[in-house]
């Protein structure tokens, strides 16, 4: 099953089971069904539960916050992740404040697709979730091919705090892990943490996890790239890696971090892969948090992400800016970083 279909099923299930859940956003109803067709067909089955809005992102995010304060469970769709810049004030200066300044519950999820590799150019290709990292009472959760039924969306809506829920454009058309080609090459282990979110460990099938010398940590749409690079490292260099993927990326999930701290000991290299710009990114925080606990003495650390340039539209130029298989592979093999 394709990830967008899984997400569509989960949204339908939420609307079916939870009479207080509403989907709020632009062009989400039929016949359009959302810019990426994630809400396809839902307005026909639940005509009252999809609120099609005008193009006023800060306005309708505020509207959804108001609904959440009154006991509803809004799921807001922002058409492109790039547009969450318009939502910062309502998210940070309003929704987040109501949680601890006033002790109110704000069960709200803002879903949005981040990411490039599709030639959409500078304002429709970014991964800017880091604008929301490390802020109080705001969580950032990311969907990946590992979460095959998109259950992280239900988990996110079950929080009493506003959640930025990151999807990735190119993931929509990809098969979830168990129906993808990777299922015949990697084993998958899901660990459900105490805070309600899972994290996933992927190892090359029939390889002893004890012999792994490189840990690749990533989230969201970068999982496919991690599979490609890790598989090639194994095939070409006979270098086995393990991939670690959390659902919640901010704040760092406690149990994910426990697994990470445990697994990193004995490793030669740690590669942190994210699609957004590397400086001051998620990888920086992961490494800082690990360092505070003491990194293994000879561990080499690599951050792989986008170069600090706006994302170009032309294919070759875009490929140079965004992280590619070669970049990840070089990091895995301990050569250079970007």
């Amino acid at each position: 099953m394709k990830l967008s279909k899984a997400l569509n099923h989960t949204l339908a299930e939420i609307l079916q089971k939870d009479a207080r859940a509403y989907i709020v956003g632009e062009d989400i109803a039929e016949p359009y069904g959302g810019a990426f067709k994630v809400t396809k067909g839902l307005s026909e089955r639940y005509p009252d539960r999809l609120l099609s809005t005008p193009m006023s992102e800060q306005g309708f995010l505020g509207l959804a916050i108001g609904m959440a304060l009154r006991g509803y469970h809004p799921i807001v769709e922002i058409m492109f992740g790039d547009f969450v810049s318009l939502c910062v004030d309502q998210f940070l200066n309003h929704a987040s404040k109501f949680v601890d300044v006033y002790g109110r519950s704000v069960p709200l999820v803002l879903r949005t697709p981040m990411g490039g590799y599709r030639g959409y150019g500078a304002t429709h290709s970014q991964s800017i979730e880091k604008l929301f990292f490390g802020l109080p009472n705001l969580e950032v959760v990311s969907l990946s091919l590992a979460d095959e039924k998109a259950t992280s969306l239900q988990k996110a809506l079950g929080r009493s705090v506003p959640v930025l829920y990151i999807e990735n454009k190119i993931d929509y058309g990809r098969e979830v892990f168990s129906s993808s080609p990777w299922v015949s090459r990697f084993s998958k282990k899901e660990i459900l943490g105490e805070e309600g979110f899972s994290h996933f460990r992927f190892n090359i099938l029939d390889q002893d996890p004890g012999g792994v010398k490189t840990l690749v940590v990533t989230y969201g749409g970068m999982l496919s790239l991690a599979f490609e690079a890790v598989w090639e490292a194994f095939l070409e260099e006979e270098w086995p890696c393990e991939i670690l993927v959390p659902e919640r990326v901010s704040p760092l999930d406690v149990d994910f971090f426990k697994t990470l701290s445990t697994r990193v000991s004995g490793m030669e290299r740690l590669v942190i892969l994210e699609e957004g710009w590397t400086p001051f990114g998620w990888g920086s925080e992961v490494i800082a948090a690990l360092s505070e606990r003491g990194l293994p003495k000879d561990l080499k650390v690599f951050r792989v992400g986008a170069r600090l340039e706006n994302v170009p539209a032309a294919r070759e130029m875009e490929e140079k800016v965004l992280p590619g298989k070669k970049d990840v592979l070089e990091a895995i093999m301990g050569k250079g970083s970007r």
Binding site: Y22, L51, T53, P54, S56, Q58, G59, F60, L61, G62, L63, A64, I65, G66, M67, A68, L69, R70, G71, Y72, D89, Q90, N93, H94, K97, F98, D100, V101, Y102, R104
Partner: protein, 299 residues
């Protein structure tokens, strides 16, 4: 007559509480900042006379002491909040700009609560509760983008909300007439919202108009009320009001909402009302200062 007496009493309570807050700052009891409501009392008191905060919903602004007091008549919890004491309305976390109780929420971003008010009104519409939302905003907020978005959303979804524009003529030091193109009424008309203006500080009149508008709101029709007003204090505690002319000040002093009632209802026992309110504010202030000193003693 009893009704007018209550309106006067609440307005005076707001006036005296705000003056006491200025005094508490001067005496070093308060830190942070505060935005006074002195001069604008008739709006909060007139409009909120028709709101049941256990059912209805009110969104405020950074300048919301008046709204809070009009509904609670409780200066003690406000003083406590400003002093950061656990008896404060948000146990000291919020401070002057961040007040919340029952269905009343304020926040410190100009205009930011307006779209949220629209969303809360939408929730009441979906729940078929018959409750109304009152969303206060100032003339400065009329130039914020998301406020315009909120007006459009209110009209598109036809939600039960009364927007109350407290036009005191200034966004901080910037005169509204220099900062706002066109007119507020034509902006509101442009969204297909019904616009009503009260160019008076007469609390009785404001109250009557608000009652009529809220009836329409409860029937599902969004409404917009602009009241022309004036603040006799600075934007915040650090504002000496150098942008205000003597002439303008004198003009508005003549329209003081308290003075208006005193001149138009000579049969009311104003000295008794003043005594009652002064006692209430003084008692609250003394209590809170005592708690403050005891707290210092414990440090």
């Amino acid at each position: 007559m009893k009704k007018v007496e209550r309106l006067y009493e609440k307005m005076l309570l707001i006036r005296n509480t705000e003056r006491e807050i200025e005094a508490l700052f001067a005496q070093g009891f308060l830190r942070g900042t505060t935005h006074g409501y002195i001069g604008e009392e008739a709006i909060a008191v007139g409009v909120l006379a028709h709101v049941d905060i256990q059912r209805d919903i009110v969104t405020g602004t950074h300048r919301s002491h008046g709204h809070y007091l009009a509904m609670t008549e409780d200066p003690f919890s406000l003083f406590s909040e400003l002093m950061g004491l656990p008896t404060g309305v948000t146990v000291g976390r919020g401070g002057s700009q961040h007040l919340s109780f029952h269905n009343f929420i304020t926040n410190g971003l100009t205009g930011g609560m307006v779209p949220i008010g629209v969303g809360m009104a939408l929730a009441e519409k979906l729940s078929k509760s018959g409750n109304a939302v009152v969303s206060f905003l100032g003339d400065g907020a009329m130039n914020e983008g998301y406020v315009m978005e909120a007006f459009n959303l209110a009209a598109v979804f036809r939600v039960p909300i009364l927007f109350v524009l407290e036009n005191n003529g200034y966004a901080m030091s910037s005169a509204s007439r220099r900062m706002s193109a066109g007119s507020f009424s034509s902006r509101v008309d442009g969204f297909g919202l019904t616009y009503t203006q009260v160019d008076s500080q007469d609390v009785v009149k404001i109250s009557r108009v608000a009652e009529e508008l809220l009836e329409k709101v409860r029937a599902g029709e969004p409404q917009f009320l602009e009241v022309k007003t004036y603040r006799f204090c600075g934007h915040s505690k650090s504002d000496p009001r150098e942008y205000v002319s003597q002439e303008e000040e004198v003009f508005w002093q003549g329209k003081d909402p308290l003075l208006f009632l005193e001149n138009n209802y000579p049969r009311l026992d104003f000295p008794a009302l003043r005594d009652r309110v002064e006692d209430k504010v003084r008692d609250a202030s003394e209590r809170v200062k005592k708690m403050f000193r005891e707290g210092e003693g414990n440090d």
